[in-house]
């Protein structure tokens, strides 16, 4: 019987390791309109100032949470521009599909200060193409 319990525990541990490997972790990014701004035509669409010609990468707000305590709030501009998903020498500087892959395996919150309160907007990465 003990043997089965150990096997079961080992299976759960293995599964948990696998789940951790898949996730890139949780990121908190500052939302202050300097690099990431909410669309004027589509609420809850948070656009980056860096964008490609005919396809845009953005974050879509899916949930507002109020009581989180992030260890660190990052600057998205620094994060993107120092990543392998940005190439300043290319016409289309962002690698949209890889950005989506990365953030799809992460939990991302945009941190907004509003009336002395901090709002955490949970977001999903999206790519969109026009016409």
């Amino acid at each position: 019987m003990k043997k089965y319990i150990y096997l079961y525990a080992a299976f759960l541990f293995g599964f948990s390791l696998y789940a951790q490997e898949k996730s890139n972790g949780t990121f908190f990014f500052k939302l202050d309109d300097s690099y990431i701004v909410e669309s004027k035509t589509s609420p809850n669409k948070f656009l980056l100032k860096d964008k490609n010609e005919d396809e845009v990468f953005y974050f879509k707000g899916v949930e507002i949470v109020n009581d989180l305590k992030p260890k660190e709030v990052l600057c998205l501009k620094d994060f993107v521009r120092t990543s392998k998903y940005y190439n300043k020498n290319k016409k289309n500087k962002l690698n949209n599909s890889e950005l989506v892959n990365f953030f799809s395996n992460s939990t991302v919150y945009l941190v907004k200060r509003k009336n002395d309160k901090t709002e955490f907007i949970k977001v999903n990465p999206i790519v969109e193409i026009y016409d």
């Binding site: 809850n44 964008k51 005919d54 899916v62 507002i64 949470v65 989506v100 969109e128 026009y130 016409d131």
Partner: protein, 450 residues
């Protein structure tokens, strides 16, 4: 005196017996109610995965303990209220639907199974409210002004019912008025400056469709005879929330498109890895707030591709050009599918992925890979589906539309973004394409659906 005492004793005994008898009835009712709720709860536990609606992503918890049970001509109906996760609510884009109430409604059918509906109740004014317990399938509050939406979770049929002073208001019988009455319901947040939608739940259509599986009539019961606002059933994999001309053309493309078009639609049928949600919006904008014909977006987390089509733009364009725009967006969806599929047996997608980098972007890839198929698809659709328009063109120009004409159409949405495939063309070819494309606006704008 003894007689009076005896009378009083008898009266007291009678009251006591009556009291006992009342308690007995309540207990029986409570037991029967609990049993009905338990039966539904067990059934739901077993069949939840067969029900399909975006709302399931947002349900906080079903309040089985507050289930509303009513009985009448259509049998016992059980409605289970629920709220949405983390402050989310629902309304329409105009933010004119207030005080959303959400319920799952269970109706038992002859086979001892349940038909399940997602019920949303809204009031017309912010100040009004719905008395939860007295508002049910068989009974509407006397002064209720608002709307009730029913979504049949087995087949996706949506029904909208409007009430004034607790009475059902019949929809307008004119097509124009029906179009104006179409409502799309969104999940979102109410903030100080109004409602901020984030996820489309569904859109409502106009009059009866003649479909066999007519949903019941909420508010006073009355069975399945009346169906004042049902829209066409949708396949779960392609969630069709289009309206008007776009809905008609999408339906014609889906049923009468050539093999190329059918193949694209089939990629999203059955147990597809990705779902498509195609929706009409009054206006669609680019990230630089420029009005555009349509957009296609990919949400990898939810494996959902969303196509937005501008009603404003399509209304002013030729029917064939509108079909071209819808097809163009479906091709974007197909490209997202190919680039993101995890199915290693999909040779076509694997080959496309390998060469995609060389195209630089989607529009150039579309011009290089799909242009010829688009040309053939537009030609077949014009000739066989929009045949009156095809004949009008022939009579007007004294010649049948050439392949070059359809190729010029297919360049729409591609050449304007100056893709490499376009800039590499010789100048005389570009001039010829532009000249033929100038004929597109003379094509007919209207399209009739059966």
């Amino acid at each position: 005196m003894r007689k009076i005492t005896l009378l009083l004793k008898s009266f007291t005994l009678l009251c006591f017996l009556l009291l006992l008898s009342n308690c007995g009835i309540n207990e029986i009712e409570d037991n029967s109610t609990a049993s009905a709720v338990n039966e539904v709860k067990n059934w739901y536990g077993l069949h939840k995965n067969e029900l399909n609606s975006p709302i399931f992503e947002y349900i906080d918890a079903l309040e089985w303990e507050n289930a509303i049970i009513s009985d009448g001509a259509d049998g016992v109906v059980i409605e289970v209220p629920f709220t949405l996760q983390s402050q989310l609510q629902s309304s329409n884009e105009k933010a004119s639907l207030f005080n959303d109430h959400h319920r799952l409604m269970f109706l038992k059918n002859d086979q001892n199974k349940f038909r399940v509906f997602y019920v949303q109740i809204f009031t017309d004014s912010k100040q009004s409210n719905v008395d939860n317990n007295n508002f049910n399938y068989y009974n509407i509050n006397e002064n209720f002004d608002g709307k009730v939406f029913l979504q049949d979770l087995s087949n996706g049929v949506n029904t909208q019912l409007q009430f004034k002073d607790g009475n059902k208001v019949l929809p307008s019988q004119t097509a124009k008025m029906r179009e104006e009455a179409i409502t799309c319901v969104w999940i979102g947040w109410w903030k100080e400056d109004g409602f901020h939608p984030i996820q489309l739940l569904y859109c409502e259509g106009g009059g009866p469709t003649g479909e066999e599986d007519i949903p019941p009539s909420y508010g006073g019961g009355g069975g399945a005879g009346s169906n004042p606002g049902a829209s066409t059933p949708v396949k779960p994999q392609i969630i069709d929330n289009l309206t008007g001309k776009a809905k008609c053309l999408n339906s014609l493309l889906s049923s009468n498109g050539n093999n190329f078009v059918q193949n694209i639609f089939n990629q999203f049928a059955g147990n597809s890895e990705f779902n498509i949600q195609i929706v009409s919006l009054p206006n669609v904008y680019s990230s630089t707030t420029q009005e555009v014909n349509g957009t296609t977006s990919f949400d990898k987390v939810n494996r959902l591709i969303t196509i937005e089509i501008s009603t404003n733009r399509l209304d002013g364009l030729a029917a064939l050009e509108s079909a071209r725009i819808i097809l163009h967006e479906y091709i974007h969806a197909d490209i997202y599918r190919k680039l993101n599929t995890t199915n290693s047996n999909d040779i076509d997608a694997s080959n496309f992925k390998q060469v995609f980098e060389t195209y630089e972007n989607q529009h150039n890839a579309m011009a290089q890979v799909y242009l010829s198929s688009m040309k053939d698809a537009l030609k077949a659709f014009h000739k066989t589906v929009l045949s009156a328009d095809y004949n009008n063109y022939t009579n007007y120009y004294g010649e049948e539309p050439s392949d070059a004409f359809y190729e010029a159409m297919a360049w729409g949405g591609l050449k304007d973004s100056n893709v490499k495939a376009w800039t590499d063309l010789p100048e005389d070819k570009k001039t010829s394409i532009n000249s033929l494309a100038s004929r597109v606006p003379i094509l007919g704008k209207t399209v009739s659906c059966p």
